[in-house]
Amino acid sequence: MMASNEELMTAFQIGDKEALAQLYAQLQEPLYCFLYRYSKDEQLSVDIVHDSFEVLQTKKFQYEQHRGKVKSFLFQIAYRLMINKLNRRKRWQTLMPFLVPIQNKTLQAEDTLVIQQAISNLPDKQRAVILLAFYEDLPQEDISLILDIPVGTVKSRLHHAIKSLKAELKEDFHHERGI
């Protein structure tokens, strides 16, 4: 039977290195998906997945089971790392626009591009909430912990994000219905 993330974390806190490997195997994909959907940058997302697990190793004793899930704790670390990196990149971009690396664009289906664009167009704060709520299926309490905002703010951001997405994708809804 597969051990839960919390059991693995407890084992890792005691000193079981194998537990960390299992934790990595279980959480790397959802973490990568969240980071990629937020940043649209493959290499940045991969780097942050690695960095987050490194930080998790150094902060392993800061995790307390009664305060939330391991997934939320890891996502909180990753989100902060990503925001710091993106802010640093923005500053460099302002100072020296020609030094910013050009990203490799991969071919994607039209539907995916439409959704990707609609999500990218959302304000940063709303984007994080919708990605965590829909794709990671996290409860609002966990989202508030990850983003370090009150639960009420999570609710309102989610509401506005859904409204904005519906407005953005309105044409596609009509297209699907054949209107």
């Binding site: 995916t112 709520a133 794709y135």
Partner: protein, 82 residues
């Protein structure tokens, strides 16, 4: 699923279609800070002289500019010697 999405069937269907390819090999190998730095140096960037090289006059200016600078420095030195 969060309660908010249960009422939004169409939106849910559209969001579900956004799938991602996981770069398994990249995730499996951790790069050192030095390797990241080398990758950053080797990554393609925007040409800072793109606006100049797009026009023939700009291209000519980029070629002549060092010559003009050289001549200017030479003239200054001549004046300093006199």
């Amino acid at each position: 699923m969060n309660e908010e999405f249960k009422k939004e069937k169409e939106l849910t269907n559209m969001l579900d279609s956004y799938k991602i390819d996981i770069p398994v090999t990249k995730l499996a190998q951790k790069q050192s800070t030095f390797q990241k730095f080398i990758r950053y140096l080797g990554s393609p960037t925007k040409d800072p002289f793109e606006n100049c090289t797009n026009q023939s006059s700009g291209y000519l200016f980029l070629n002549i500019f060092p010559v003009i600078c050289g001549l200017f420095l030479a003239i200054i030195q001549v004046f300093l010697l006199i």
